[in-house]
Symmetry: C2
Subunit: 418 residues, 2 copies
């Protein structure tokens, strides 16, 4: 039986993830592996923890990746703190709010939801009012909602949660590394990031962080695996009066032991993905968080100018736009999927559609991480204009690229890092 | 803030995993990524499914990786079929049997165990007797137990399970790609493999397969996520009379939809790890399963000859030795960890210790995948002799390498593939 060598096309990936991987990260991934308890490897584990603390803007002790895609991190965080019957409030403003409810329900929580129109975010005061009414143990909220391209302000909600002794857990998958996210300053107790979006590392890891408030709950539910537990571990278990965490793979108390100096074997850390994450984080830290956030906005501005100059309109409320995702209303009568297909087939450019009620209504263009580059923005605008013309859309021809170039020339020098 | 470039030593990795990654796999991992719904990528997904069916020796429709380390695959399989209160029989002959009990307990099963001495395996007749007594819904069993280096015969147990309408799920993490494992012929209903052992792909994916018997249970528990479900999905859910699967991330009914032609978005597939798995499987198929199994035995023989010629004794019953892991009794009075450390520090060779009751009693030397090469065996034997001499052990000096070379020269030509 023979299979051909891996032959993949080179794409311009302008979706909200997975996006183009930084070539430095790809190179790091071809590094020969070392064993999981090799001092050379545990040093890398510690470095990644330190780097993650900077990216998350936190002093938390615990900051490490879960070995799975982003939602594995979200489930690890939630299932480790949810005890059956716990009340959770999930304010929903897009698809990934629903995902949070799914996870919580499966782990036995009593889920309370509130919803706002897709394309908008919540007024923090409304969420706080609902927290006061429901008295949940946990508030679970999305920061950057990729399905609608919106950014939920978190700080006031975080402060209120802390004051009312409610745990505040945040899905920062689409925002981390692309727009500001201050874990400590915004009173976030537990946060999950993504690799395949603004960090420009392949999908397959979910960096998380959590503070002592969460650690305390996890520790109270701790169980060490029978095959490797000590007499002391088993004694502590007998004194445990909280229910065990409902997953072995996603049990943060065990992951914590593995990432601590105890190095108690849980899984075998995904060596090459960790090499990739380290390199991806290193690139972010070299660029500097503020520079990086500015760069994302800088290119977003050019993209938006181009799209509007072409005559397209943006979806959603401008006041809460997620800088890393731009949602475009599909013009009346146009088959959005046909446009996407032509972009991919003729230009090798990928943009995204959306989910549920927005399917067929909007396109989503990502400007994330390594994909967020001038040539990608310009190429996408030019290609989209051509494809729309082919689809009979009356666009203002020639204006998109001029507007984008104008936007780029408004600032004499591009921000550092790009 | 600056961090240095990734600087890792080149090791000779002779543990039972993670082992050295084939250079072709490392190279594939530096390939630029494409989007998750790009036809170029879904083609790769389909190819990997086809390749996995060959490796698993099955005609099952479902064969795909779970995006997580091996135990995530085991938990995905078990949590998707366990309904609270289900009886499960777990015969335990090492650490990873305990892991199976942990996973099952956390998902609400009523777990029945039977144990045999570590270093031995079960007489299938004894397991069958216990199945008849307990009447479980599921038997969960380890095939290759790396903690003790034993290989459990499965066929008779599988046949008995099928006859009694019991589900038979197997942990083939340490055996797949290194020793024979016939999913269909041995009546295995669900099986989980590992990447970082005999497939010589980095840790981070868990290839699994399961048949219609399991698919039927999964389908009866199916729930499509609210943010992406259709009216038809929601109608079917209302008719569901089985409890929902207790994990979102590890829910095989959702993974199945993502790996099917429906391509219903669940997670974002770990692109680069899938490239790696594809290349790793391609290498196995090029070598041929039988050649590959023979090669593993061929090098195991040389290693064992060398160890015994040195005067060391092997742990465990020879009749059920796992060909890919050789367990060596640590000589009386020797600090096993000190020997391991010196091997690593002076020679750059990593061998493993073991867990629980065997900690400090045995070393475990893996001969898996790309690590299973003549130069690695010879280097390890020579180094171990030197280190043992340094530790004051009276070994038969000079004999180990001669015995290994003799073993190699007994066969005129090495098997194809190495």
């Amino acid at each position: 039986m023979t299979y051909s060598d891996l032959n993949t096309p080179l794409r311009t990936i302008m979706t909200p993830g997975p996006v183009e991987v930084d070539p430095r990260v790809l190179r790091a991934m071809s590094t020969p592996v070392v064993g999981q308890f090799d001092p050379a490897f545990t040093k890398i584990m510690n470095e990644v923890m330190e780097m993650l603390r900077h990216i998350f803007q936190t002093k938390n002790k615990w900051a490490f990746p879960v070995d799975g895609t982003s939602r594995s991190g979200m489930e690890a965080l939630l299932c480790s703190i949810i005890e059956p019957g716990d009340k959770i409030l999930v304010p929903i403003f897009g698809r990934f709010g629903y995902l949070l409810t799914e996870i919580c329900e499966r782990h036995g929580a009593e889920v309370h939801t509130m919803e706002c129109t897709w394309g908008d975010v919540f007024d923090p005061a409304d969420v706080i009012k609902e927290i006061k009414r429901v008295h949940p143990k946990i508030v679970a909220l999305v920061h950057g909602e990729t399905s609608t391209g919106r950014l939920q302000p978190l700080e006031k909600i975080g402060a209120a949660c802390r004051e009312m002794n409610v745990l505040f857990t945040v899905d920062g998958v689409a925002s981390i590394g692309g727009t500001d996210l201050k874990v400590d300053e915004w009173f976030i107790d537990g946060l999950v990031g993504g690799t395949q979006k603004c960090l420009s590392v392949p999908s397959g890891m979910a960096p998380i962080t959590y503070n002592e408030r969460i650690e305390e709950i996890i520790t109270a539910r701790k169980k060490v695996e029978r095959g490797i537990s000590t007499a002391e571990d088993r004694k502590q278990e007998l004194e445990r009066d909280h229910p065990i965490i409902r997953s072995n793979y996603l049990d943060l108390s065990m992951l914590q032991d593995y990432w601590s100096s105890r190095r108690l074997n849980h899984h075998t850390e995904a060596t090459t993905m960790l090499y990739a994450l380290r390199e991806g984080l290193r690139i972010v830290l070299e660029e500097g968080l503020e520079n990086r956030f500015n760069r994302h906005k800088f290119h977003e501005n050019a993209l938006v100018s181009g799209l509007e100059a072409m005559g397209l309109t943006l979806f959603g409320s401008p006041s809460c736009k997620l800088p890393t995702v731009t949602c475009v209303n599909i013009p009346e009568g146009v088959d959005g999927e046909s446009v996407r297909q032509m972009l991919l087939q003729e230009f090798g450019i990928e943009i995204a559609s959306s989910f549920g009620p927005l399917q067929g209504k909007i396109w989503r263009i990502g400007t994330m991480g390594y994909s967020c580059r001038k040539e990608n923005i310009l190429f996408t605008l030019g290609a989209l204009e051509a494809v729309l013309i082919r689809h009979g859309v009356r666009v203002h021809t020639g204006r998109a690229l001029q507007a984008a170039l104008d936007s780029y020339s408004l600032i004499h020098r591009e921000p550092v890092g790009q």
